[in-house]
């Protein structure tokens, strides 16, 4: 079998027993990129000179080629955030996650496409180009980490880093048929992640099976003194109990996630997944999370308010684009008008409006209070059950162009994922079915720092479903 079709775990074993060397793996994946990237367009920047470098490391990630979302700073490698305003930005330092990957000898092949600054759910809002879903090139890969998900699903990377502010890892993972982890807020350092909404942003992992996801989490998770919101608690080995199964575990189904708007395909796939867990010995319990219906409004108020503040730094002075003007205000306004896409400007405007005098209490402060009610729903649920099982998105991957004219319709597609960021809890997205040759994802949500449990519950399903390590055809048939 071609090496790019295998998992990190499989390839690591072959390298360990001397059958192949890391350079062969990198070469195989680079050939795959040459073959399918023209159709998929997952990358913003391809690092032509990337190669396996020998390091003193026993990590299974040593020598393994992967990709990084373009809002994670890579020293000496252009980092655009999908925005024209950062078209020529070369970070002078690495994000902590990149330092950690370098330390174990993982190979970064390139930087992947995304919705500008993470603002979008389809990667159509990139300042560069549209990425295609490798299962059906006429459809979106999801977003905002659409390039990362498409690269992994199409065999152009064994692993990817993404970021998740309202579902930006989990939804593209679901649309592309791969595994995506949004860790507990603070479990993975945000140092070097370009800020969108700082109280919601997390860096996480995308891989083609659950075990690989655990391997990658083992490298990037942990305390970092350079991120003041980093959790100072020890990390477990995420692979340790991964095959322990689900017998005796309680899995909750929050009824609010299975309501109107859910497509027939997604509903049927989830029902089947629930039956699988029942067959594996888990107890299924319906739970009530009454504040779920307020999550989208809460999320879009908080996220845009934080964004309007975070993006004030793009003023044409210290880095990024500058468009000359007649004075500093004019220069700054022209720069931001030309450098930001319409969606970014819309969100900055929204955030500025809800934070402005006379509206702060009615919108922003109110949203912070409702955020606590949503968190309380999760706390109550986890007194009853070990994990929650929900859809990732109400539908499968939609057509390119289908929602671009209606921002509110695009926002509504985030309905199953934003709650997790508001509550700061971890969640895993993994494929639960392929219907009409398109993947359907399911979401497992856990209490804070329960990543190992989520991986274990995900792994139990994957062992039964056989839906691991699927490589998309990229328009070229199977």
């Amino acid at each position: 079998m071609e090496m790019f079709r295998q998992t990190i775990n499989q390839l690591h074993k072959r390298i360990s027993n001397g059958e192949i060397v890391a350079a062969d793996v990198v070469e195989s994946v680079k050939q795959r990129i040459a073959a399918v990237e023209p159709a998929v367009k997952a990358f913003i920047t391809i690092c032509d000179d990337s190669e396996a470098v020998a390091v003193e490391s026993s990590s299974p990630l040593a020598g393994m080629p992967g990709v990084v979302k373009d809002n994670i700073c890579t020293q000496g490698i252009r980092t655009t955030c999908g925005s024209r305003i950062l078209e020529n930005f070369i970070p002078p330092y690495n994000a902590t996650v990149i330092d950690r990957l370098n330390a174990v000898g993982a190979v970064v092949l390139g930087k992947t496409n995304q919705d500008e600054f993470g603002m979008g759910s389809s990667t159509e809002n990139s300042g560069y180009h549209i990425t295609c879903n490798p299962w059906d090139l006429s459809r979106v890969p999801g977003g905002s980490s659409g390039g990362s998900a498409a690269a992994v699903a199409s065999g152009q990377a064994l692993w990817a880093l993404g970021s998740d502010t309202g579902g930006s890892i989990r939804q593209p993972a679901a649309f592309c048929g791969i595994v995506g982890m949004k860790p507990t807020y603070g479990r993975v350092s945000r140092y070097g992640l370009v800020a969108y909404a700082s109280s919601l942003d997390t860096i996480g992992t995308l891989t083609r099976d659950v075990y690989d996801n655990a391997l990658l989490m083992n490298v990037i998770a942990g305390y970092d003194e350079r991120d003041s919101t980093s959790i100072n608690a020890p990390c477990e080995d995420y692979t340790a109990g991964i095959y322990d199964g689900v017998r005796g575990l309680k899995i909750g189904l929050p009824k609010q996630y299975f309501g109107e708007g859910l497509s027939a395909e997604v509903a049927a796939a989830l029902e089947q997944a629930v039956q699988t867990y029942r067959d594996l010995g888990a107890e299924i319990i319906e739970v009530d999370m009454p504040n779920t219906k307020y999550a989208l409004a809460t999320y879009y108020i908080i996220a845009t308010a934080e964004a309007s503040s975070n993006l004030a730094r793009y003023d044409g002075v210290s880095y990024g684009l500058r468009v000359e003007g007649k004075n500093i205000v004019d220069m700054s306004e022209r720069t931001r008008e030309q450098g930001f896409s319409e969606e970014v400007r819309r969100r900055i405007m929204l955030g500025t409006y809800t934070l402005s005098a006379g509206y702060y209490d009615a919108y922003y402060n109110k949203a912070l209070k409702v955020r606590r009610l949503i968190k309380n729903d999760f706390d109550a649920a986890f007194l009853q059950v070990d994990v929650l099982l929900t859809p990732v998105a109400p539908t499968q991957a939609f057509k390119i162009g289908e929602k671009t004219d209606d921002p509110l319709a695009m926002y509504l597609s985030d309905i199953c994922t934003v709650t997790v960021n508001l509550a700061g809890v971890p969640a895993l997205s993994l494929p639960c079915a392929f219907t009409n040759n398109l993947p359907v994802g399911m979401q497992l949500i856990g209490a804070p720092l329960s990543e190992a449990l989520l991986l274990r519950v995900g792994c139990a399903f994957e062992q039964t479903s056989g839906l691991a390590n699927k490589i998309a055809p990229c328009g070229g048939g199977k």
Partner: protein, 95 residues
């Protein structure tokens, strides 16, 4: 729907210049989104504390010790305009 004046004011606070067409479009779109957000008015939040972060956070203190940091050249390398020592920006205070 937001009024044209409201959109213009928010654009100015956001340091954004909008074309007349964009002003029109944003007043409709932002109005619809804000109307959707008003669902929160129906939630009883009496005695509920605002939640800024999902995990408990406290101030992190450290000793004030000098450590290596970016040098001058590196810190200025992404700037649109410098004199080698400082960032250069257009006039802030007119004569």
């Amino acid at each position: 729907m937001l009024s044209r004046e409201q959109v213009e004011k928010v654009a100015s606070l956001s340091r954004l210049q909008l074309s007349p067409q964009e002003l029109e479009k944003f007043s409709v779109q932002l109005g619809a989104i804000i109307e959707y957000m008003e669902v929160l008015n129906s939630v009883d939040t009496t005695n509920i504390e605002p939640m800024i972060y999902a995990v408990p956070t406290t101030n992190i203190y450290r000793e004030d010790i000098r450590k290596p940091s970016l040098n001058h050249v590196t810190a200025l390398q992404n700037a649109p305009e410098t004199d080698g020592e400082y960032f250069i920006a257009p006039t802030v205070v007119e004569k």
